[in-house]
């Protein structure tokens, strides 16, 4: 390729790159609002399973609190808490945490706990468990995950917070005990954390503020 050819090739490449970038930019601008609306709607819908039976003011997603890792909650990444209020009185907290010891990778969980410490709902947000075995923890596939509703850290006593195979009170799933065990442990740790840090969780009024920063 001659020098002129190289130059011409460079120009062609630059022009086509500019056209392609313009195309992507235009699509981005056209879809931006819809995408962020979708994400917000999806988040609100995914929080619903843990909000059943609660009276609360709207705007749960705006009361988000990020608890940076390391923390005493399950999971090694930042945990997210959505605080639920009714007329500025705390009603419940929704925790988004990860059970680390799933069968294949972490299991992202939504755990709702009311102000008295009772579970309002548990929902599996994300997982990579075996289809047909571990994936029955999904609320759409079986009602296994419903057995925690109304339970708290004193009901059963901490010793009983395990699957039956490990001497606890909760059902396992046929053919899968690793996944249920991971989820039970994550719920127990979350309840323990909430029992010990209830005030902290609701104290940070500014969503950007975090309880661990308060403590420092």
């Amino acid at each position: 390729m001659s020098d002129a050819g190289v130059f011409k090739g460079g120009i062609t490449l630059a022009v086509i790159a500019a056209i392609c970038t313009a195309l992507v930019a235009a699509t981005f601008i056209l879809t931006k609002e819809r995408i962020s609306a979708n994400e917000q709607a999806w988040l609100e819908r995914s929080l619903q399973p843990a909000l059943s039976g609660l009276f609360f003011d709207s705007g749960v997603t705006e009361s988000r609190l990020i608890i940076p890792a390391p923390h005493e909650l399950p999971g090694s990444e930042d945990a997210i808490v959505y605080r639920v209020y009714a007329e500025n009185v705390p009603v419940a907290a929704l925790f988004v945490v990860s059970a680390r010891d799933g069968y294949s990778g972490p299991i992202r969980l939504l755990i709702g706990v009311d102000i008295a410490g009772a579970i309002t709902g548990v929902h599996v947000l994300e997982h990579r468990e075996t289809p047909g075995l571990g994936d029955r923890v999904e609320s759409g596939k079986s009602d296994w995950i419903q057995q925690y509703n109304g339970r708290s850290i004193t009901d059963p006593a901490p010793d009983g917070w395990a699957i039956k195979r490990d001497g606890g009170v909760f059902d396992q799933l046929t053919g899968a005990s690793v996944t249920p065990r991971a989820i039970v442990n994550a719920i127990r740790e979350t309840l323990l954390y909430f029992a010990g840090n209830t005030e902290h969780v609701f104290a940070a009024s500014d969503p950007a503020e975090t309880p661990t920063e308060d403590a420092e």
Binding site: G5, T12, L13, I16, C20, L23, V24, L30, I35, W42
Partner: protein
């Protein structure tokens, strides 16, 4: 390449099917076909990318020196895939979540760059768009067929998750039996299903050749790609 319109359809859907004969784009083909709706979603996304990339490559073919054609194809295909991903996120968010990384990974589907190189860079705009549509249809139909087969065997249902296309409440589709043969929706099931599809195609071809020696001559050779 003086093929009639009908011949081109026959080639795209059967004799030179990108998935079944050329074995291109196997990664998404094997990974997402656990249900019909997933197969349909990725099939349509690939078809759209293929059509538009063929159009752009064909439209710009006069200005592209052969030394820099590959980076330009990559540029065009990558931009189109990004656009498709944004469009899916905006209009089919549930399907986008279900297909996950495999929408952006369309960019690595060799079927697309192969059509750009083999067809679009040597043909006019109209035929290139038609070629993209036909080849994309061949790929999409295969994805849908394998998705249908694996879903029926593995979950005992058909068209579950149709809400991902239409929006609204979750739909479980037509459920025939609760649960099914687990292996079919696990990764090995994808390989078995594809192997069955290829074996079935070869068996059909062979039978046709046995009945009609003239047809054998037409399709006996390797595909022209």
């Amino acid at each position: 390449m003086e093929a009639t319109f009908l011949d081109r359809w026959k080639n795209g859907l059967w004799h030179e099917n990108p998935g079944l004969v050329q074995l291109l784009g196997l990664c998404p083909l094997l990974a997402v076909t656990s249900t019909f709706v997933n197969g349909f979603g990725l099939g349509v996304a690939t078809l759209m990318v293929l059509m538009v990339s063929n159009a752009l490559v064909s439209a710009t073919r006069r200005w592209i020196q052969s030394q820099i054609r590959i980076p330009i194809y990559v540029l065009i295909i990558a931009s189109l895939v990004t656009c498709i991903e944004l469009i899916f996120k905006a209009w089919f968010p549930a399907l986008d979540r279900s297909l996950g990384i495999f929408i952006p990974l369309i960019v690595t589907n060799c079927a697309i760059v192969a059509r750009a190189e083999v067809f679009a860079s040597r043909n006019a705009l109209g035929p290139s768009v038609v070629d993209g549509f036909i080849m994309g249809s061949g790929f999409a139909l295969l994805l849908m067929a394998i998705g249908l087969f694996r879903e029926l065997l593995g979950q005992g249902s058909l068209f579950s998750g149709l809400d991902m296309l239409t929006g609204g409440e979750p739909l479980r589709g037509l459920v025939f039996v609760d649960g099914g043969w687990l292996l079919a929706i696990l990764p090995p099931g994808a390989f078995f299903s594809l192997a069955l599809a290829i074996a079935g195609k070869n068996a059909l071809d062979r039978r046709r050749h046995a009945n009609n020696p003239l047809a054998a001559r037409r399709t006996a050779g390797k595909p022209s790609v």
